[in-house]
C-alpha cells in the first residue's frame, strides 16, 4: 500500500471531504506530507472504484467520503505489517547497539 493510500484510509475512518483529508494528513505528519490536489482527486476516484471508500454525501458541490469495511480491513492489515516492521527494526537496533 502506498503512503498516500494509507493516510487516506486512516483519515477516512471518519467522514471527510477531499480538502479535509489534505489538512488532516498534513497535521498528522507534522507537515511532512502535503498531498497534492491532483493526487487526492485521482486516489479518491480510484479507491472508490476499488470499493475501499464510498461517497456518503455531497454538500456545496463537495463529496464526502468514508472508508468501507473492505478499506478498513486492508488498513488493519497494513497497520499490522507496519507494526511488525517497526518491532523488527527496534530489535535490530538493539542488536547493533550491543555490538558497539
Amino acid at each position: 500500500m502506498t503512503e498516500t493510500a494509507f493516510y487516506i484510509l486512516l483519515t477516512l475512518q471518519k467522514v471527510r471531504y477531499g480538502y479535509g483529508i489534505m489538512q488532516d494528513v498534513e497535521s498528522l505528519t507534522k507537515g511532512r506530507i502535503k498531498l497534492g490536489a491532483g493526487t487526492i482527486y485521482g486516489s479518491l476516484s480510484r479507491m472508490e472504484k476499488d470499493g475501499l471508500i464510498k461517497v456518503v454525501g455531497e454538500e456545496n458541490r463537495r463529496k464526502s467520503y468514508i472508508a468501507t469495511e473492505l478499506g478498513s480491513e486492508l488498513l488493519r492489515e497494513e497497520i499490522a505489517r507496519i507494526s511488525e516492521q517497526y518491532h523488527n527494526a527496534m530489535q535490530m537496533e538493539g542488536i547493533n547497539d550491543e555490538q558497539h
Partner: protein, 184 residues
C-alpha cells in the same frame, strides 16, 4: 498610467507541459500577469504589473466531476480555463524566497504516471481515429497529388504521435524506477 499588454503565441508539446508551466512562471516573475488563454491553449494574453511568484500547472484530466474543481479551489488553486481539450490550467502563488514551498498538484509518483498514461491514451485514440479518415480520403480523392499530400501529412502526424507516446513511456519508466526507492 497606460497599462501595457502583450499577446504571445507559444507552441508546446503535450508531453512537455512542464516547459510551458515554467515559461508562464517566468513571465510572472518579470511582471507579466497572465490574463487569458485562448482555447487553442497556445495564445497567451499578459498585462504588465508587479513581479509575482506563481506556480502554473496544466493538468490533464479526461474525466472530471464537480469535486475536481472544488478540491483544487479548496487547496488554493485558481482556475484559468475550464478544461478545453481536457486541459485544466491552474495557478497558485507562493513565496519567492521559499522555493521548497512551490506547490504541486501531484505529490506522489503514481499520480504523474497515471497522468502520462491518460495523455498516451489520447494520442493513441486520435492516431487510430485518423486511420479511417485517411482511408476515406485515399478512396474518394481522384487526384494522386492530393492523396500523396494527405498520406505524407498523416505519416508526419503519426510519427509525431509515436514520438510523444515514446517520450511519455520513457518518463514513466524513469518514474517507476524512482518509486521503488520511495513509498510515496
Amino acid at each position: 498610467m497606460m497599462s501595457s499588454t502583450k499577446s504571445v503565441f507559444r507552441w508546446w508539446w503535450i508531453w512537455q507541459s512542464e516547459k510551458i508551466e515554467e515559461w508562464l512562471e517566468e513571465q510572472e516573475r518579470q511582471g507579466w500577469h497572465l490574463m487569458e488563454v485562448k482555447p487553442n491553449l497556445m495564445r497567451f494574453y499578459f498585462q504588465k504589473g508587479e513581479p509575482r511568484t506563481i506556480r502554473y500547472v496544466f493538468d490533464y484530466q479526461t474525466e472530471v466531476n464537480d469535486d475536481y474543481i472544488m478540491l483544487y479551489e479548496d487547496a488554493g488553486w485558481e482556475p484559468l480555463n475550464n478544461g478545453k481539450h481536457s486541459w485544466y490550467l491552474w495557478r497558485k502563488p507562493y513565496e519567492a524566497n521559499k522555493p521548497e514551498s512551490r506547490p504541486e498538484i501531484y505529490s506522489d509518483i503514481d499520480s504523474v504516471i497515471q497522468r502520462n498514461d491518460r495523455m498516451k491514451r489520447t494520442l493513441i485514440i486520435v492516431g487510430v481515429i485518423l486511420i479511417p479518415l485517411m482511408m476515406s480520403v485515399m478512396i474518394t480523392q481522384p487526384l494522386w497529388q492530393v492523396r500523396l499530400a494527405f498520406l505524407i501529412s498523416y505519416l508526419c502526424i503519426w510519427v509525431l504521435f509515436m514520438y510523444g507516446i515514446n517520450r511519455l513511456s520513457a518518463q514513466n519508466r524513469k518514474l517507476r524506477s524512482r518509486s521503488v526507492s520511495s513509498h510515496r
